[in-house]
Subunit: 616 residues, 2 copies
C-alpha cells in the first residue's frame, strides 16, 4: 500500500462509480477541512476547472493544481461547498471516467461534470465543470412547485391574473422601476427576460422593432437558421418535434413573439434607449444605479434600473468601411445588415464586398432573382457544408441521434461547457479533417474556381473561429456551388475606390455596379456601450467576445473565456448578453442567477475579473 489518506481509496477492481465516489468523497473532505493544497493535489498536472458562477461568481476557467489552489484560496470559505454526489452511474472509456454530479454551496445548488484520469497510479481530475443552477430560497416555481393559478376560496379582494398583469404593465417604468433593464429583445434578451421572470427579478426588455421576432423577420427573405433545431431551443419551452431542422426566419420570428407572450416576458416594442449613465451609489442606497433615457413609441421616459444588460447582438455594430468615392457612387449601397433582399435587383449588376456567411447568403439570393453578381474576396474564408457540419460537428450533442441516446438539450449544454477552451481546438481539428475528407470534391472545385479557402489558423475550423472572432466562415447551404461553377463571379483583393457606377479594386479591376453590398462584418459589442453610455465606459469594459487565442482578430493574452460575455465587467452594473440561440439559452441561466443574487443581496464576490487588454 503506497496510498496515503490524501488520496482516494481505490482498488483496480473498483467500478467507475466506486472510484468516482471515492474521489468526490475525498475532495469534499479536503474542501470541508479548508485544505486547499490537498484539494488542488487531486487535480492532474494538466487540468481544467471551469466554474459557471458556483464558486467564482464569474465565468472562469483555472488550470492545473496551481490554478485550482488560487480559485479555492479566494472562494472556498464563502462558497462552503458540500454534498458532492454522482447523479447517475459514471462511465469509463479510453481511460477517462466521466461523471455527472450534484453539489451544494452556501447559497445554492449546482451540477457538474467531472472527468477523471489516472496519473502516477492515482485518480485525478482532468476536467472539472461546476455550474450553479439555483439559489436556495429562490428556486423557480416549476414542476411540483408550479403556481396554483386558481385562487381557491372566496375572497372579496380577489384580483385576477389579467388584472394583475395589466396593473403590472401600467406601473412598470412609471411608479415601479425594473431592477434589470435589458436593451435588445432578440433571442438573447427574450431568453434572459424569461429567466428573470421565473426568478422574480423585476425586469424589462426593450427593443426598437415593432414586434418581438422582427429582428429576424426584417432580414433577407430566404434566410433560415444556420444552426439546427436541437441546438436552438429556448429555456422552458422546447420547439415541438415537428419543428424544421433549420427554421425559416419568419417562423422563428413568430415563435419568439409567441414565446414572449406565453412566458410573460415584460417587453416593450418600438422602444429605443438613447442615453445611459451610471452613478455609484452608497451602500445605504442599495449600490449604484443607471439613468437610462428611452423613447417608447416616440415618447421620452427615464428608467432607473440597477443593472443594465446590453443584448443588442453579439455581432456588435456594423462595420461600414469608408472607401473613397462612396459619396459619388450613384447606385444603391448598404451594409449587409441593411440589405433589403434581392427583389429590386433582378438584372442588375451587384457587387458584394466580402466572402463570409452574409456575403454568400446575399450573393445566392441575388443570383436566384436573376441579378448579375460578383463577390469580392478580400481574405481567405473557411467553408463547411451545412449537412456535414451538422453530422460531424454537432451530431453527438445536438441531433435526433443525440436525443435518442438520452443526450437532452440540458445535458448537451453541460457537456459542451465542460470542454476547456484551452484545448478545445485539439478536439475540433480531427473533426474538420474528417469534413475536408468527406467533401474533398467540393473543396477541389472551389479552389479550382479561384476561391481562397482556410480552415482556421490551426485547422480547428468553424466553431473555434466563432468563439475567437465570430467571423471568417460560411456554413454552406448552397451558394458556394454558385462560386464554384462561376454563376457568381469571383474577384480578389482590396477595394481601392468607387466611381459613379463601379467598384475599383487595388489591382485596377473595375467592377461595374448598380448595387454594392458591404458584407464587411461587425465591431465589438462594446461599441454599443460607446453609443449608449460613453466612449470612456466602452474603454473601461474593453473588447467583447474572443478568447485571447492570439489568432487573427482575437489578440492575446489568453483569457480562457469569452471576453465580457454573461459575467461581470469592469463597469459595475453593466453586462453583455447574446450569441447564438444555444448561448442565449444556456448562458442566460448564469446571467440571470448573477442578477438575482444582486437583487436579493446575496454577496457575490467576483473571482478573477479579467483585466482589459483591448479596447475594441
Amino acid at each position: 500500500m503506497t496510498q496515503t489518506l490524501d488520496h482516494p481509496v481505490e482498488t483496480p477492481e473498483a467500478t467507475p462509480e466506486q472510484r468516482t465516489d471515492a474521489w468526490l468523497t475525498a475532495f469534499e473532505a479536503a474542501l470541508r477541512d479548508r485544505d486547499v493544497e490537498r484539494a488542488a493535489g487531486m487535480f492532474a498536472a494538466t487540468s481544467f476547472w471551469r466554474d459557471l458562477v458556483a464558486f467564482s461568481w464569474n465565468i472562469t476557467t483555472v488550470e492545473n493544481p496551481d490554478g485550482v489552489a488560487g480559485l479555492l484560496t479566494s472562494t472556498l470559505a464563502a462558497t462552503d461547498p458540500t454534498s458532492f454526489a454522482t447523479e447517475e452511474p459514471p462511465t469509463e472509456a479510453d481511460g477517462v471516467i466521466t461523471a455527472w454530479f450534484g453539489f451544494e454551496t452556501a447559497v445554492g445548488r449546482g451540477r457538474g461534470l467531472l472527468r477523471l484520469v489516472e496519473e502516477n497510479g492515482d485518480l485525478k481530475a482532468w476536467t472539472f465543470l461546476t455550474t450553479l443552477y439555483e439559489l436556495k430560497g429562490h428556486e423557480e416555481p416549476r414542476g411540483p412547485a408550479r403556481p396554483l393559478g386558481a385562487e381557491h376560496g372566496a375572497n372579496k379582494d380577489r384580483t385576477t391574473w389579467l388584472e394583475r398583469r395589466e396593473a403590472e404593465e401600467a406601473e412598470l417604468g412609471v411608479s415601479t422601476q425594473p431592477f434589470v433593464l435589458v436593451v435588445g429583445g432578440g433571442q438573447g434578451g427574450i431568453a434572459l427576460g424569461a429567466r428573470l421572470r421565473q426568478l422574480g427579478v423585476p425586469a424589462l426588455v426593450i427593443d426598437k422593432h415593432a414586434r418581438p421576432g422582427d429582428q429576424w423577420r426584417g432580414r433577407y427573405k430566404s434566410l433560415c437558421l444556420h444552426d439546427p433545431v436541437w441546438y436552438d431551443h429556448l429555456p422552458y419551452l422546447k420547439f415541438p418535434d415537428n419543428w424544421p431542422v433549420f427554421a425559416p426566419k419568419d417562423k422563428i420570428g413568430d415563435w419568439l413573439e409567441s414565446y414572449t407572450k406565453v412566458m410573460e416576458v415584460p417587453y416593450w416594442s418600438s422602444t429605443v434607449a438613447t442615453r445611459a449613465s451610471y452613478s455609484e451609489g452608497s451602500a445605504d442606497s442599495g449600490g449604484g444605479e443607471w439613468t437610462v433615457e428611452i423613447e417608447r413609441e416616440g415618447k421620452p421616459l427615464t428608467l432607473r434600473p440597477k443593472q443594465l444588460v446590453l443584448a443588442t447582438g453579439m455581432s456588435g455594430k456594423p462595420n461600414l468601411p469608408s472607401f473613397p468615392g462612396m459619396d459619388v457612387f450613384r447606385g444603391d449601397q448598404h451594409h449587409s445588415s441593411a440589405h433589403p433582399g434581392p427583389d429590386a435587383y433582378a438584372g442588375k449588376r451587384c457587387v458584394v464586398i466580402g466572402s463570409n456567411n452574409s456575403a454568400f447568403d446575399i450573393c445566392g439570393a441575388l443570383w436566384e432573382y436573376g441579378a448579375d453578381v460578383t463577390m469580392v474576396q478580400r481574405s481567405s474564408t473557411h467553408i463547411v457544408k451545412s449537412d456535414t457540419l451538422m453530422d460531424i460537428g454537432l451530431g453527438d450533442l445536438y441531433s435526433e441521434r443525440a436525443v435518442a441516446a438520452g443526450v437532452t438539450t440540458e445535458k448537451a449544454d453541460l457537456i459542451f461547457a465542460s470542454l476547456p477552451y484551452r484545448i478545445m481546438h485539439e478536439f475540433q481539428i480531427p473533426l474538420y479533417e474528417q469534413m475536408a475528407e468527406r467533401d474533398k470534391d467540393f473543396y477541389d472545385r472551389l479552389e479550382k474556381a479561384g476561391f481562397e479557402l482556410d480552415w482556421g489558423e490551426d485547422g480547428s475550423g468553424l466553431f473555434m473561429k466563432y468563439l475567437r472572432r465570430g467571423s471568417g466562415y460560411y456554413i454552406d447551404v448552397g451558394a458556394a456551388e454558385l462560386v464554384a461553377n462561376g454563376e457568381v463571379r469571383l474577384a480578389h483583393g482590396q477595394v481601392d475606390h468607387l466611381t459613379e457606377d463601379a467598384v475599383v479594386l487595388s489591382d485596377g479591376t473595375v467592377l461595374p455596379a448598380d448595387l454594392v453590398v458591404y458584407a464587411t462584418g461587425y465591431g465589438s459589442m462594446n461599441g454599443w456601450a460607446a453609443d449608449l453610455i460613453s466612449q470612456e465606459t466602452a474603454d473601461t469594459v474593453g473588447k467583447v467576445w474572443g478568447l485571447g487565442s492570439d489568432t487573427t482578430k482575437d489578440p492575446g493574452p489568453w483569457e480562457g473565456e469569452q471576453r465580457n460575455m454573461w459575467k461581470p465587467t469592469q463597469q459595475p452594473g453593466l453586462w453583455f448578453h447574446g450569441g447564438n440561440l444555444h448561448q442565449s439559452r444556456h448562458y442566460s441561466l448564469y446571467l440571470a442567477l448573477q442578477l438575482k443574487a444582486r437583487q436579493v443581496g446575496i454577496p457575490t464576490p467576483v473571482y478573477n475579473l479579467p483585466e482589459v487588454h483591448h479596447l475594441d
Copy 2:
C-alpha cells in the same frame, strides 16, 4: 398436459413478459389463420375490447367472446393485423398482467394496452385496447422525419416559407377548398386543426370570435380551468413546467392564440357559418360534399368541404328556460353562458337559478363583488373539492406524481382509454367513497345549510356524471363554503314565474332580484346541427354525448361509448368534436386519422355504427 395448441403455452414459472408474449403470439396466429372462434376464445367470459379506429374505423367497445367474434368477423380480413409485440416489460399485480403492445394493420400502425387474467387455468384477455396512431405512407413529419426548413442549394424558383404561407392563405376558400371545415375554434377545433395540418389534410377552422382564445377570454373574469395542467396539454406542444396547475382563462386564451400561430393552424377569426347542406355525390365525384355559407368579417362566402366537423362546444346550445313573466322582468337576465361577470352588480340583488359549476362560480364571483346573492337549487348536486378530486381522482394518471412515475400524458391517455365504460363506475365508486370520507366535515356543513347533495345515482361521482350527462356537479374551488356558511343564500324548488322585480318559486317564495342568471345548462350538440343544417339532419344524427347508462339525462339503451363523438354519425360527412382539454387532445388524433383516410381514399368500412334512439 391438458393444454391444447389453441392456448398460449405457459408454465407457472413463466414471467409476465413470457406469458404475455405467448398470448400475443397465439392471438396473432389465430388472426392470421382468420380463425375468429379461436381468437374470440382467448378472451375471458367477461371481457372488453375497445377499439379506437384500428379495426372498426369507429370508436367502439365490444364485450365478451361473442362481441369479439362479431367484431373480428366483420373486420379481420380488411384489417389484416400483424406484428403484435410488447413495447416494454409487462407488469403483474393482483392477478392481472398489464402489457403495452404495438401492432400493425394493412393500412396503419397501432398501439394497445392489454390486461390478462387467469380463467380456468388459462390466460385470457380481460381488457383489450387497440388504437391506431398513424397511417402507413402518411406518417407525420416529426422527429427524424421533421422537415428540413431551409431549402439548400441555389434555385431560381425558390419560394420562402412566408411566401408559401401567404399564398396558401390567399387561396384558401377562394381558389382552393378545404377538405375539412371545422366550425368552432376553441381547444377542440384548434387541436384538431393542428393534427390535420400535420397530416397534410387541407382544412380550415372558423370561429365567430375576434381572436383564438376569445372563447375563454370572454367568460367571467375569475374563471380558471377546473382541470389541472397535466390533464390539459394540447397535442405536440406541452405547457412549460412553470404553467399553473389551474390556468386562468386569459392565460389559456393567450396560449391557444400562440398555439394556433406556431402550429400554423389555418384559422379564420370573426367568421360564422350561417347555413350548410349536404349533397350526396357519385363515387366518380369523390363522394358527397357540403355547401357551407359563411360570413367572414361580415362578407359572405361559400365553402365546399367534403367533411364538416362541429366543434362548437360539447355543452351544446344554452338551455334558456321560458318562465312566465320573463318578458315583464325589468332587471338584467341572461343564460350563464352570457353572464358578463360581477362588475356591474355590487350591492345588487342577484338570483342564480341552478346549482352546478356555472351557478357556483357565478355566485362566488358576485358575492366577492358585494352583491346580495341567492342560489336556487332545483335538484341535488354532486360536489367535490378540487384538491381532493385532483389527488384521489386524477393523481395516478395526471399529476406531478404521475409524471415522476413515468406516466407521460400519452400513456395516461391510453390507460384512461383502456378502462371500459361498462365497468368504469365500479372503479370510480371507491374513489368517491374516499373523497366523502376525507371531506366529511365539509359535506356535513353543506347539508346542515340545507344543500341537497348527491354522488351520482350509483355513487360513482363526478367523472361518470360528466361522461353520462355532462352536468350535475360542481368542482368546488371555494364557493361551496359561501353556501355552507350562509353568505350565499339558498332557496329550493322550481321557478313558477317572474314578476317585474322578483323570481317567484312554486312554493310561493318571492326572491327580489335586480339580476337573474339562468345557470340552466345546455342541450345536446345536435342542436348545433339543427341550427346550421336542418332539424332533419339533427334528428338523423340524434343525441350527442352520453353512454346510454339509463341514468338521469342519459337514457338507455347502453351505447358503450360517447354518442356521436369523434366518430362517424348517421349523417355522412358530419362529425362532432370537443369535450374538455383532455378529450380534445386525445380524441382529435382518432378523428384526424379518420378524416385523413377519407382524404386519401383509404377504405374505411365502419363497424357497429350505432342506431339513433334519442333525438336530443
